[in-house]
Symmetry: C2
């Protein structure tokens, strides 16, 4: 059982029991009639988490490339592009969105273990680097580059077979994982590369997994990649990039965990960078935007079935599937404590017709009334990005706070957004 503790930071604070995000009293959003649920983001938190990376790469030749799959709201993309971030993208639509949001192609990179032609073409047209994941991926990129009459700049994604000790679904650097070249495949590929004039290997990449609790695996992986850099340089490849991926965790428990910070990450790899004269590429996603976002819902009611107490909210797995999918913990609290009743142990559940629709289990919380606001913290990463329309709970709105200003940065979907893809027309083969 995880008890709920008060959250305090420069970004979130309470006044007379009411929760503020920067200078916005969150419950006032509900009382002013905003439709729930919605995601809300803090510019101040985003700035602060960006600065931790900016500080960590001071004096280092580095690109901090935001992994936009974590959250591709255009307002967040524009902010990060403005800060000087690069962008790590994984599909043609992400390439387009990143370019339209102001990211420079020189600071972009396309990933993917299963790139479709449309993804490869979008990257080649934009002139961005591609991370190559496998031998078949290399062949397809080389063929598309030939067709485009261009030379594809590549990073070779290496699977270092190092255990990051995180949830299996977000662990990516073990040979059981679908990602990257094994050492044996790298050896086979060194030879093959000699006969592919349409590609140029510019660097090496590995990504160990998400929510890393220590940087030791990153240090080990950098050493392993250093050996490969020398080997590929001896083959004549102009290797100047070392991409150590992303993976820094955030403290979802809000106070219980000590997690590595970007400074430790760069410290872990800087010896290798200096020795080999490499440019560093980092790919933070969660640690750049996770803390900056929260999911806000309204309490629909409180229920006691004799064995358990439930808080039923209109926020659900349709907006935030992480608790259900990974058993992930997100800190949950009421927006306004002053009006709440006795403290009990609750399961916090959504309205989706499925038992897996919970946001938190066994949480000690004051008893809310119907209509009260509730916050699910640290939902800035892999929240909206993984949302569904399950039960026809359509896409929700998103808001961005900056001081006392609030901007709506995505509107909620309507029935018309759903029905516009309905079709009924014959296909002839």
């Amino acid at each position: 059982m995880l008890y709920t503790r008060p959250v305090s930071s420069a970004v979130f604070h309470r006044e007379n029991g009411a929760l503020y995000l920067e200078r916005v009293r969150l419950s006032s959003l509900l009382s002013s009639g905003l439709e729930t649920p919605f995601f809300i983001y803090s510019t101040a938190q985003l700035v602060s988490d960006w600065q931790a990376y900016a500080q960590a790469v001071r004096g280092i030749d580095a690109v901090v490339g935001y992994a936009i799959k974590a959250n591709s709201n255009p307002a967040i993309l524009r902010l990060l592009a403005g800060f000087g971030a690069g962008a790590v993208v994984v599909s043609d639509h992400e390439v387009r969105l990143a370019l339209e949001s102001g990211f420079s192609p020189a600071r972009m990179l396309l990933h993917g273990n299963g790139k479709r032609s449309r993804d490869i073409d979008a990257a080649l047209q934009a002139g961005i680097i591609l991370s190559v994941d496998s031998e078949f991926d290399l062949e397809q990129i080389a063929a598309r580059a030939l067709a485009h009459k261009t030379k594809a700049k590549l990073l070779l994604r290496v699977n270092p077979d190092i255990d990051p000790q995180v949830h299996p679904y977000i662990s990516t650097g073990l040979l059981d994982s679908k990602f990257g070249f094994s050492e044996a495949a790298v050896e086979r590929t060194r030879q093959r590369l000699q006969s592919l004039p349409s590609v140029e290997v510019r660097g090496l990449h590995c990504h160990l997994g998400s929510t890393l609790k220590t940087v030791q695996p990153v240090r080990d992986a950098a050493r392993l990649l250093a050996t490969l850099v020398l080997a590929l340089r001896s083959d004549g490849h102009p290797i100047d990039i070392l991409d150590m991926g992303g993976g820094l965790g955030i403290d979802y428990s809000r106070g219980l965990e000590q997690l590595p910070i970007p400074d430790e990450l760069t410290l872990a790899v800087s010896p290798v960078l200096r020795e080999l004269g490499l440019r560093l590429f980092l790919e933070p996603g969660r640690s750049l935007v996770g803390r900056a976002g929260a999911l806000i819902g309204r309490v629909l009611g409180v229920k006691d079935n004799g064995r358990k107490h439930f808080i039923v909210t209109d926020a659900s797995m349709a907006q935030l599937i992480r608790p259900c999918l990974y058993g992930a913990y997100h800190h949950i609290d009421l927006l306004d404590e002053s009006v709440a009743g006795p403290s009990l142990i609750f399961d916090v559940v959504g309205p989706i017709c499925e038992s897996g629709d919970f946001l938190g289990q066994s949480r000690q919380l004051p008893t809310p009334r119907a209509g009260d606001g509730l916050i699910v913290y640290d939902a800035g990463a892999y929240g909206f990005a993984m949302a569904s329309r399950y039960n026809l709970h359509l896409g929700c709105a998103e808001y961005l706070v900056d001081g006392q200003s609030i901007r709506r940065v995505r509107r909620a979907e309507t029935f018309d957004d759903l029905s516009r893809t309905f079709s009924d027309e014959p296909i002839s083969l």
Copy 2:
């Protein structure tokens, strides 16, 4: 390790190694240039699965109410409405879609452990029965009915505390679950109902869970509800409906399992129906549409990392999250066996940047070439319905086969569908 066995049925069959759905050679859809991935549905399978229910309720006063959350493609809804099915809905948008698709309000029912005002209002306006889930839900429905100057017809959802022995996320009839009234809550509610003139209890409901392997728990639950029917009738409520929910499983393993059929379900409850003169309401979802649908993808490539073989496809957890979310097994096969290479043990994975993105693990399959088609069976239920836009892999198309005819019943989403909800406007409180 689950080996792949050939699938044969009237609906799917092979000719010279090529897989046909009814009279359509599936690989011809790919060679004609249809964008993958997509869902494809069989009218013949839908008819056959409907007929199993129609047959099971012959001579019984019954409504077979399709749980449209399983798959709300309008073409499927129109077919089922045309067969005479009712509709079980769980949100305002589902109410609207069901009505627009031709379901009669007299054969509809709104469910939900967390009904929002908009859901209740939609149901009251349409004049459909509501299943009431909890004491707070009852109060809110009664209040909304009063506001609408109408009388709400209710089913009382009872949590029978019976273990259906299925995956915890789809088990709904235990007291650990968020659904329904406990026996104690029913007792409290009997009294409260006397002072709520805007509601009328017309029946009892329970739903034990999905993918039931035996009907014994349904038989037990019907007996338990029978006692409550008598109690509520003695309070003066005109109870004439017994809603036993849905929950029949389908044989995802395609040949390994013997599962209960609708006939067994009605046989299990018919003694109670006869004794008490009740109309039966059934709520099949999966068992009506699960088998009728498949997810079709293209192979992007085959990969060997020294420890495992992978087939990488463009179909993914973005379209079908069940393998990742529940560890669910879906049978997987190649569309065309005649062109395939040596048989190996593969993980079948998608292109999403996450290790959880797999469709099947340790499957014995012939080695395909890039571009070959692949089928994931039994994806008609909880496939598209739970789809996301993760990695900006946007909503895919859906097709409906009937004999040799093919209709596109949903078009794939475009970048414009994504960007039309982008917004950037100040909110003033």
